[in-house]
């Protein structure tokens, strides 16, 4: 427990001045513009949007600049800002099948209809620091564009019905964790909302643990795609559906070996990851953790941390986690005084007891 303290206003004001000065750095160096951040730090912007749970490149860039590049602080700023905005409604479900693909790869099928498209990826860079920044070469354009919509690899190549199919099943209204508390057991849609907002580092660690043996996981990256998807809404004022723009999304379909159980035949099951912007590591981690959290549904033995939904979902949010860890900096003076006084008593008792024992030993030996 922490207590309210008075005073320190002047010190706080000066601390804020120091922060502003440190953030800005040398005034002779131009300040970063939002366009520079949006364009040249786009992957950072994507992460702040996804974990800040608000798709707005401008606001995310502003948050990154204000937070001096501290992504978790920027995410916190964006989360705080979103609470000031009214909620207009829910979009139509995003149709990732109709994605205008910029990248699409499969780790399971070599020849996928439409082809594998590498797009802009760090995968084939040599990770050598470039000491000189050089203007990029204008990319080559193919004579033919890609097909308008690329069907999902898994839907297409499952002629033998060995890959699980997921249908909408009555299309129930999903729980919205921005409105309702997280309750256990959480259904898959609720878990996916939690994971989508979840910290990339935490999910990466969880996903990694499943691969290293802390769960039943034999995953393959069935398909990863990144590109633009239209956002559709159906406002009451109109009564028909319109596009309001498009956003960049990354989608990952993992497939996992499954020997059958809980009345289900042996088949490949799926884990699903979806995130805003280019976020392949996040989407893949999310898909692995999503699949692992299906252990109860699939009747798999559950023993690993990544299979425990209460453990995973309660600790995935970096705004909550950061708040609780960092609150230890707040004044705990009364708590600590109480503990200190208790410890003094215990210590005195211990010393007293030792002295008594020593006296007793001397008596017996003499």
């Amino acid at each position: 427990m922490y207590v309210a303290v008075k005073g320190g206003e002047q010190a706080i004001t000066r601390s804020l001045q120091l922060l502003a000065e440190a953030r800005r750095g040398d005034l002779a160096t131009p300040e970063l513009t939002l366009d520079q951040i949006r364009q040249q730090l786009r992957l950072g912007v994507a992460r702040v949007m996804q974990e800040g749970s608000l798709y707005d490149e401008e606001l995310a860039a502003m948050a990154i600049r204000q937070a001096a590049g501290d992504m978790l602080e920027a995410i916190f700023l964006l989360r705080a800002y979103r609470t000031t905005l009214p909620r207009f409604g829910y979009t139509q479900p995003l149709d990732t099948n109709a994605m205008r693909v910029h990248r699409r790869v499969s780790g399971t099928f070599k020849d996928v209809p439409g082809g594998q498209v590498l797009g802009p990826t760090y995968d084939y860079t040599q990770r050598l620091l470039e000491f000189e920044s050089t203007a990029p070469v204008e990319p080559i354009e193919a004579t033919e564009p890609l097909p308008d919509a690329m069907p999902r690899v898994l839907d297409l190549l499952d002629a033998e019905a060995l890959i699980e199919r997921i249908d909408a099943g009555g299309d129930p209204e999903p729980i919205d964790l921005t409105r309702e508390p997280l309750m256990f057991p959480a259904d898959r849609a609720t878990r996916l909302q939690n994971l989508a907002r979840g910290d990339e580092g935490f999910l990466l660690g969880m996903a990694y643990s499943t691969q290293r043996g802390y769960a039943e996981s034999h995953p393959f990256a069935g398909e990863i795609r990144m590109g633009e998807v239209d956002v559709l809404i159906c406002p009451e004022e109109l009564g028909f559906t319109i596009e309001i723009g498009s956003i960049t999304l990354t989608e990952c379909q993992m497939i996992n070996q499954f020997h059958g159980g809980n009345g289900l035949p042996p088949q490949f099951t799926r884990g699903y990851g979806l995130c805003m912007g280019e976020g392949e590591r996040k989407a893949m981690s999310m898909a692995l953790v999503d699949r692992t959290l299906r252990c109860d549904e699939l009747g798999e033995p559950s023993y690993a941390p990544a299979q425990n939904q209460e453990f995973v979902l309660s600790h995935s949010d970096n705004v909550e986690a950061s708040g609780f860890v960092q609150h230890l900096k707040l004044p705990h003076y009364v708590d600590f005084q109480a503990e200190l006084s208790l410890l003094r008593t215990l210590s005195a008792q211990h010393a007293h007891r030792a002295k008594d024992e020593e006296a007793a030993t001397q008596e017996t030996s003499s």
């Binding site: 996804q50 798709y55 205008r100 797009g119 193919a142 564009p145």
Partner: protein, 149 residues
């Protein structure tokens, strides 16, 4: 008064929302009615829509996270124009709402089609085709190497 079919209106509203704000502003420059002739029933307001995804791409819906959206409504003459555009650019929403109102007027529609919608459609198609051709250039053929060959 002709009422445009919902399909046609949905198409132009979508196009106006997908347009680059600067291009829309340029196309609408000579067409925006004077302030005295426009009544803002709902001035631009930025808020949030919750983005919905589907489990596995095809399954039940889930909430992915929110997206900022700016909406506004304008009355020009007898016609009411609405706009919802992604992001927080108020001017984009205002221009789109004005264009929506004007497009409902059969008398003005041909001019707007030619001067606004067609150039915007062309520009959008161009941008998408260029991005797609660039991506297509990185299409890869992986060959499985047979061991011992």
């Amino acid at each position: 008064m002709d009422t445009p079919t919902h399909l046609a209106r949905a198409q132009w509203m979508s196009l106006l929302a997908q347009a680059e704000p600067a291009e829309l502003a340029q196309a609408m420059e000579s067409l925006t009615p004077p302030a005295a002739a426009t009544t803002w029933l709902r001035p631009p307001q930025t808020g949030l829509y919750m983005l919905r995804g589907r489990v596995g791409g095809t399954g039940p819906q889930f909430n992915l996270g929110e997206v900022s959206v700016t909406r506004c409504s304008v009355q020009i003459g007898e016609r009411i124009g609405h706009a919802w555009v992604r992001g927080s650019n108020s001017h984009h929403a205002e221009l789109a709402a004005c264009a929506d109102a004007l497009l409902q007027d059969a008398g003005q529609q041909p001019q707007l089609q030619a001067q606004v919608l067609e150039p915007l459609r062309h520009s959008l198609d161009q941008r998408r085709a260029t991005a797609s051709r660039k991506a297509a250039a990185s299409k890869v053929e992986f060959f499985t190497v047979v061991r011992g060959e």
